[in-house]
Symmetry: C3
Subunit: 405 residues, 3 copies
Amino acid sequence: MNEKILRSEEALEIYEQIREMPIFDVHTHLRYKKPCMSNAWDLLSYHYFTEIAHSMGFSLDEVKDSEEGVKKIFEHLPAMRTTAPYFWLEQIAKKLFDCDIRDWREFYERVEQNVSSGDWMKKVIETSHIERIALTNNPWESFEGIDKELFFPTFRADPLLKFDNRVVKDTFEETESFLEERMNYFIGYGCKAVAISPPDDFVYIPSASRNNSALKEAALSANAKEKNEVRSSLLSILAALCREKKLPFEIMFGSVRDIYKRCVPEGGDFSRANTSLLDIADIFNDNPEVIFPLSIVSFTNDQELAEFARLFANVYASGHWWFTNTESAIESSLKKRLEVSPYKKHIGYYSDAYTMELIWAKFDFYRRVESNVFADLVREKRLTVDEAVEIIRIRDYETPKRIFS
Amino acid sequence: MNEKILRSEEALEIYEQIREMPIFDVHTHLRYKKPCMSNAWDLLSYHYFTEIAHSMGFSLDEVKDSEEGVKKIFEHLPAMRTTAPYFWLEQIAKKLFDCDIRDWREFYERVEQNVSSGDWMKKVIETSHIERIALTNNPWESFEGIDKELFFPTFRADPLLKFDNRVVKDTFEETESFLEERMNYFIGYGCKAVAISPPDDFVYIPSASRNNSALKEAALSANAKEKNEVRSSLLSILAALCREKKLPFEIMFGSVRDIYKRCVPEGGDFSRANTSLLDIADIFNDNPEVIFPLSIVSFTNDQELAEFARLFANVYASGHWWFTNTESAIESSLKKRLEVSPYKKHIGYYSDAYTMELIWAKFDFYRRVESNVFADLVREKRLTVDEAVEIIRIRDYETPKRIFS
Amino acid sequence: MNEKILRSEEALEIYEQIREMPIFDVHTHLRYKKPCMSNAWDLLSYHYFTEIAHSMGFSLDEVKDSEEGVKKIFEHLPAMRTTAPYFWLEQIAKKLFDCDIRDWREFYERVEQNVSSGDWMKKVIETSHIERIALTNNPWESFEGIDKELFFPTFRADPLLKFDNRVVKDTFEETESFLEERMNYFIGYGCKAVAISPPDDFVYIPSASRNNSALKEAALSANAKEKNEVRSSLLSILAALCREKKLPFEIMFGSVRDIYKRCVPEGGDFSRANTSLLDIADIFNDNPEVIFPLSIVSFTNDQELAEFARLFANVYASGHWWFTNTESAIESSLKKRLEVSPYKKHIGYYSDAYTMELIWAKFDFYRRVESNVFADLVREKRLTVDEAVEIIRIRDYETPKRIFS
């Protein structure tokens, strides 16, 4: 067995028991029509790789075809070898393609050979022990031909708070009707959640009035308070629909978009160190019947997240997102969650993956770190290995499955 | 010996030498007339347990009597088993009641049997090696019949900054006179400190003018600056009295009250991730002759706290409060304090306990974590075990005793 | 071999291979005319020692001569023994003066004997394996007699943002000419960098207009926005000169000056917990051709720093500064950097030393902690020892040498 990351005998023992646990993945960006890779560049053009390479001089302008893309990224791989994405890639190569990542051409060809076989997706699902996968979808998307056994849509409402006129109508009433109609369509295809990543300057204002004339001008307005009022009203509409339709409402807090101007696509977003979850706490007060899986992207909110799961009956601490999806960040955030809040209020992990091949790699990385953390509790005689495994099973599988079913 | 939490031979060796050290507890919420439990519900109705249970569906409405309360909380205990409060409970059960916490009725009855014996408090004190205990008292409290050998009051001034008219009079002069009179009364009963947990929107303004008409309106005013001015003046009065009476002035920084609206009693308070101790730094500048034991509730202030103890001659880094009173939070904050500031500027720990039975459990938890941290220094050949034990004794016992005597 | 701090066999093995690596120190405060100690007080009057002693009652008023200074600081040393400065002092005593720090007089005399020998500096350089040293210099400094083989100046521009009239002239044009003239003078003496530590209230405003009348009044203005505009324009001038002269532009973010009023010299500065690097991100957007080694002083910016190195092609995560130059702070920041960003975007360390004797001590401390961190990666089977050593060499020596040459 590959023992990477696992720090002790106890960690190994725990990992051994959880590594083949089924995956119920509550947040991904897979395309349901083409959920797997077509070639190696599909994986390596993921911004996690291109942005790191870019920071060392790589440019997408150099890339004329997928072979060249892979070759160029591989040139920058050695300098990424302490990062989480490198680990994922190495594991995918080994597990799914039975090769390593020393030679770009070998990797490219191994991928090509494999993914072209007719039952590739089936193989990925079986090897990964994938049970179900949440998609992330714009309100205007359609789902013809979706495999409803495997996938379920998530109603991603970000365009709403960006005042996108594909979802924001002339009045709050019309917007509400439109949202409900679309949500019903989503539910017809098995939708199990609404999700939003609020703009970083958003402060929730409870009981904001529904001023229709402000709604029309919000997109153009420079007035922060007015925008917050309109956004708060729109968010309240969503929350009310969640209550009515009995859907959990995922909140992904703290990302700041489009900071770096010369970035590769999607490589310009950051976290912000000085934010507080308290600025959105009244969303949870105002909607006690809605379950909120809550995610953060900056470690400075780690303690707040644990407190929210400990106190609010309707908030769950969910996953390890983006820049905190790394070994030491998961470890220290997970410890805070376990020490401050009950494990039944956790959704252990989701992959946030763009292709299906990444799901297992990211889950496996997380499970290794989680095994280390629980092994510490075993070594400190606070849990037995069996208890640790049972808690992990509840956090990582049963709770997400219960909430998103 | 129970080896829980202790991570190494060296930690065990250190713990062995400090576990029976006398406890001089500089901050508790004990009631001097009834400092011990009457039954198990007295302990389990503590918000640390009820709020976690509430987050999983528990409601106080279900609780008709103390037996039922205990039974209900016990149903939620398994899901708390990685938290600090669970550890305290388990330790109390074992140490004081010679039982475990698998069966609620057994625990309930074991408590009943023990606490009804006439010398229960004496037994708790002896078993816990308690030397003296600070109380926390509103300015209007009286102390008839207090055991002055064991307890000493703390003048808790929070109502002052809330403009409570039981302490805030018509003018600053009258308020000052009233405070001094009450403080003298407190000192007659052995009061050794003033304490305050400032409102989270408080920013100290040095040399704020004493505007008596603003004072009268502050409670109603929406103007943040005006409120801060009045509060700063009131706080300056307190600090001047501390100087005159030679009392240390405890500042407990960073709690944010009443955020969660549907909470169990006292289960609605949080920390805030984006605050800075610099916003109150001038309190310490303005009162160089007053000693300030300073506590924080958010880990994001850990480094600032260590810096304040390193630079300000009159500031001590004090305890591990509330949501940071957990294993990994203590460990990382303690390391920062030891690396940045001299250990003579530390007050190791206080229990913040509501019943006397909790004091030892919380101190013992802390001492185990502290043993781990110092064991690391021993293993890194920076201290011998004897040096570690000596430093711990100064931090945890001698310094608090010196300052609060 | 002295095994202090080193936590495992693997750490020892790594350290063994890096401990004599040449030092290319990109940030110090050495005086080129007198880079070494004259006596022990030269070292102990460094604010790192005096400020900690001051926090326990030490006053510079007590110090009539250098002997007495050393004696007084030594009285306070035992209480500093868990701090980083204590470790440095202990190591200097042992390595350079072949004594310990139990007896102040012995130390004082051992220093005296050694530093008075004619080839002392040569010995320090050889023992420390020092290759080159960056100085930090005000724009008006001169460099007659500087040893250009060993030292190179850094153009420290802090006075510019303080509106010091020795550098800020009547118009932006005149200021620019003056800066260029001075920078050319610096470059004549081998200057390899511009550096600035922006005021803590600075927020960079892109494309700020160059309003000459605002420039003249900025120093007196209470208007934050106006100040930020003028400062942004001045900073843009510097950045443009960096581009033209191909100099890296070091940004040292987050220090807050002159908070504690009764401090020893330089002992009144703090970090601030609630800041964000996003407030200066547009500096990096606006100057893509300039390389920015970026340093932080608060651990709350750790993740942001790693993200900046991961995304911005022109930003390097640089060193471990001031209050984060401690064991646990280095460890946790370094892990974040390695997990989030590629190691080629790191400048491992600089000493920030005031006398040459401190350089090795601080580098050695850092290298020990770094060895622990990389040993964890070796133990987790993610790197071999050889790979770890190679990465360390690139981070700590090759990259800083390349950028500052």
